[in-house]
Symmetry: C2
Subunit: 205 residues, 2 copies
DNA sequence: CCAATTATAGAACGATCGTTCTAGACAGCT
DNA sequence: AGCTGTCTAGAACGATCGTTCTATAATTGG
């Protein structure tokens, strides 16, 4: 047998792998059964390790939760800003923003579910981090809508409410879209969601 | 002291009152902490009665849950149909449908939250009842959108997706609208949500 | 007013929860 | 090879879970 020396087998790398595997199955279980409905034993069994092993990597259940938040939701504002960076036409910016948001939601489908479901159920620290991110996202949307209004392309009304409505459509997308859909079908669906946000149900008048 | 003889003090009435009070606080706790996050003891303590008293009125925790479903969500399809009954103009029908839906959601705010949060977490029977109602609601929306399309007032695309988008806006309304808002403010908000559904973000063009 | 039913409380059950403790297996380094 | 720190398992802890049991108080119907 050949002696295989892994390039990445430093203590730090092993630690990272041990954590990653736990986070991976925790996401799955939290998304399916919620925070209170998922036990440390469930998670340990799912990775085929012991309960105390989980505690070796994470201080407690909530730290595991926060690790999930860390690797997914926290990146959302940055990705949204990146998607509109450099685009100047307001309508194009809105479209790029929505498309990127739908894309990220799709990518972190389970994570997104978790944070919508157990939004207000965590300790002060977790809750605060979650709330802060949501406020950040809202700010991005409000700014874009103000840009749209500046060029007379936004209907009258409270901009925040319009932002909430957009977010409603986008976040609800996670509930009904099929993860199994093919690429072509998915693009078509995203197009229609975007069309709804821009023009609602109406064709012309 | 005057001897007060209640008009409604039959065993059946007492039973109903005993149940009602439990359902009332269960709604509050389930909405705040979720199904798994709420214990029978929490509920018993909140009504100031004993744990076994809860079991006197409800077979188990899930039966209590189903009682909540019974008194709120189950009535939704009927109320939606009632709101559009007799209205002929398709646009007016859609508006009436959305307004009624927002109204009912507001009225059963906590109940709605519960069933969005713990949607897929219950036993077969509870889950099935919940799913059936949601399918019924979707059917109502699809039918209305078909009516709109028949007169050329609906943009192209899959009608079901448009229905989902509408439901996203409506259901998300629960997340951000303030229950404390006054009547005038609320009507104004509802107007804007409806306007978004009909025309999206765009003014004209 | 008394028997029968209903409402309630309190203790207890086994299961499971999050968490901790103890101790052995394994790795990396000298 | 032997030491040092990381990784892992298993048992155990007290708390709490949903649920049941037993018994007492309250209420109703005759």
């Amino acid at each position: 047998m050949a002696r295989v020396v892994s390039l990445k087998n430093s203590p730090a790398a092993r630690e990272a792998r041990g954590r990653e595997e736990l986070v991976e199955v925790a996401v799955e279980l939290f998304a399916r059964n919620g925070f209170a409905g998922t036990s440390i034993r469930d998670i340990a069994d799912a990775v085929g390790r012991s309960v105390s092993n989980v505690y070796h990597y994470f201080e407690n259940k909530e730290a595991l939760w926060l690790a999930i938040l860390e690797r997914s939701v926290k990146a959302l504002p940055g990705r949204l800003r990146g998607a509109i960076d450099g685009v100047s036409e307001p309508r194009t910016r809105i479209a790029a923003l929505v498309r990127e948001h739908l894309d990220v939601s799709e990518q972190y489908r389970r994570e997104s579910r978790i944070f919508f479901i157990d939004e207000e159920r965590l300790s002060a620290s977790g809750n605060k981090a979650n709330k802060r991110i949501q406020r950040e996202i809202l700010t991005i949307y409000v700014a874009e809508l103000e840009g749209l209004r500046a060029v007379g392309l936004l209907a009258d009304g409270d901009i925040r409410i319009t932002a909430f409505n957009m977010l409603g459509v986008i976040n609800w997308y996670l509930r009904w879209s099929k993860p199994s859909a093919g690429q072509a079908k998915r693009e078509q669906t995203v197009d229609q969601v975007l069309a709804f946000i821009l023009r609602g149900t109406g064709s012309e008048k």
